[in-house]
């Protein structure tokens, strides 16, 4: 993962700002006068080269935030800026790679035709369109579906078509809302590889997802939102992770089962050579594992019961409720 932005706060204070949410709020009002606060006092900056995850439970306000970031909705309060410009102004000049949560493409269009249309609108020259469309079709494995009508595509293939149109141009900003929704495990992994390939110092990627494991793997930071408010921003790098007291891990031993209680007196036997252990910090965990190995045990795997992000997410969402 070379080339990742550092995860310390100082970096984010000084790096080139790309997207800024300034005290953004959105209230939906019905004709009957009822109002719902979808987003409240949301402030966040996203910098060049960063992959920012946005996580939150259903109805947390993720999609509303993205709609305001794209200029599809106007904030009730505050402002969003992309490279110092109002969103619509930026997008109308430069475009943005965007995958929406709901893939809405005219069902009568054929997959390849849809991409040619989007490429035309994206300003790709006539001579390059075939090449570029061919590239994204190969990238997303849509070759056998290129002549199918959109309405004939399966959920997974439709999702891949949505991703293909987002990757048509070499955009500086990519916004992907639930990008792996409907994808099978093979294409979920392929998507992760594609995002890693897309990572570069002058490109900013936003990924909104329910899938915390995915965000843990891909994002540099994750903004956790709930009930329209930013609850916390979590760095996903382990190097800066403060020790979390009482973290549980599942340790699987290939041999040396007799040493486990000498090293982890409270280890719980989960069967099949697996043990659940609780440690105070990563340092303690490593020391204990070294001790175990030195006694002659063979460790097959060590898996946290919950990722750092998952723990933070549970705390953040739990706190807000």
């Amino acid at each position: 993962m070379a080339g990742l932005p550092p995860t310390d706060d100082a970096y984010y204070r000084t790096a080139a700002l790309v997207i800024e949410f300034r005290n953004v709020g959105k209230i939906y009002k019905s004709l009957l006068g009822n109002s719902v606060k979808a987003v409240e006092e949301f402030s966040l900056t996203v910098v060049d080269g960063e992959i920012l995850g946005i996580a939150g439970p259903n109805g947390a306000g993720k999609t509303t935030l993205i709609a305001m970031m794209l200029g599809y909705l106007r904030p009730t309060t505050g402002a969003v800026e992309i490279n110092g410009l109002p969103p619509r102004q930026y997008i109308e000049r430069n475009g943005i790679g965007y995958l929406s949560e709901l893939i809405a493409i005219n069902p009568k269009w054929r997959a390849e035709t849809a991409l040619v249309r989007f490429a035309t609108l994206a300003g790709i020259s006539r001579s390059e369109i075939r090449q570029r469309v061919g590239y994204v079709i190969d990238l997303l494995g849509l070759d056998e579906h290129r002549n199918k009508k959109v309405k004939a595509l399966s959920k997974g293939n439709l999702q891949r078509l949505g991703l293909a149109q987002a990757f048509l141009r070499d955009e500086q900003i990519l916004v992907l809302d639930e990008p792996t929704h409907g994808l099978d495990p093979v294409w979920t992994q392929r998507f992760r590889d594609v995002v890693e390939e897309l990572r570069r110092p002058d490109r900013t990627i936003l990924i909104a997802s329910h899938n915390l494991d995915e965000l843990q793997r891909l994002a540099d930071r994750v903004a956790i939102i709930d009930r329209g408010r930013l609850q916390r921003v979590v760095s996903t790098g382990y190097e800066n992770t403060a020790p979390v007291a009482g973290t549980r891990y599942r340790v699987t031993l290939a041999s040396g089962h007799e040493f486990i209680r000498a090293v982890f007196p409270q280890a719980e036997d989960a069967g099949r050579g697996e043990y659940d252990v609780t440690v105070r910090s990563i340092k303690d965990l490593n020391a204990a594992l070294a001790d175990l190995i030195s006694r002659g045990a063979l460790i097959a795997s060590v898996v946290p019961e919950r990722s750092v992000l998952e723990q933070q997410f549970r705390e953040a969402v739990g706190e807000s409720q």
Partner: protein, 244 residues
Amino acid sequence: MSRVSSLARYSLWQFRDFVVERGVAILIIGCLYNYVLMAPLRGALASQIVPGRANPMWGIALQVASTVVSLSVLIAVNGIVSTDRKLGYYRFLFSKPVNPVLYYTQTFFVYMVGVLASMLVLSSLLRTILPTFSILNFLLYTALIYVAMGGIGFFLSVATHYDWLSLAVVWLGSRVLRSLYGPKNDWRSKLVELLPPVHKLDDVANTLIGTGTAHATDVLWLFGYGALFFALGLVALRWGSLAD
């Protein structure tokens, strides 16, 4: 490549959309309407057919032609903006470097070309029955009604999701209210003056299709009213939200 030229290239796709989704329907409805009304009359009035506007079929042809134009405009502008918003198509369209105001302005005029092309086909067919029927005059009338009625339809498509219904209500409601209150000389007659000038349509249809001329004030009223609402639609598009 400039954004304007890529949008201009996209007009070919918009024209194709018009043909597939609207043009075919307009031609079928136009042909059926012409055939159902004109063919039996042609047989019945065969002995009275004389050249020119004295032909008793002329009045019926005018009525059929103006109704087909109104229906065609209704079909053409139905959902011109609201469908993209209702079905969420705007999300991918306008994440590209495209200005929605320019995009929908272009759509409006591409569809106008489509309606004119459809009317060219239909009026050519009508001319086989009525050789004195002027295709050019008919196309002028079509263009005027497209701006007058389509401009209001465009505004309603930006403002509401039920645009064809609201356009039909506005159009027919204006006719009814104007016929009820227009002649009275009170506050209601002044109020209905603000409604679309649909009462001028019959006169304009008669004169413009028949002779190629019309009262300039009537034409200006119709054109100005539609153009004003079209402009209001663009303003609403610029300053409103694309998402709900």
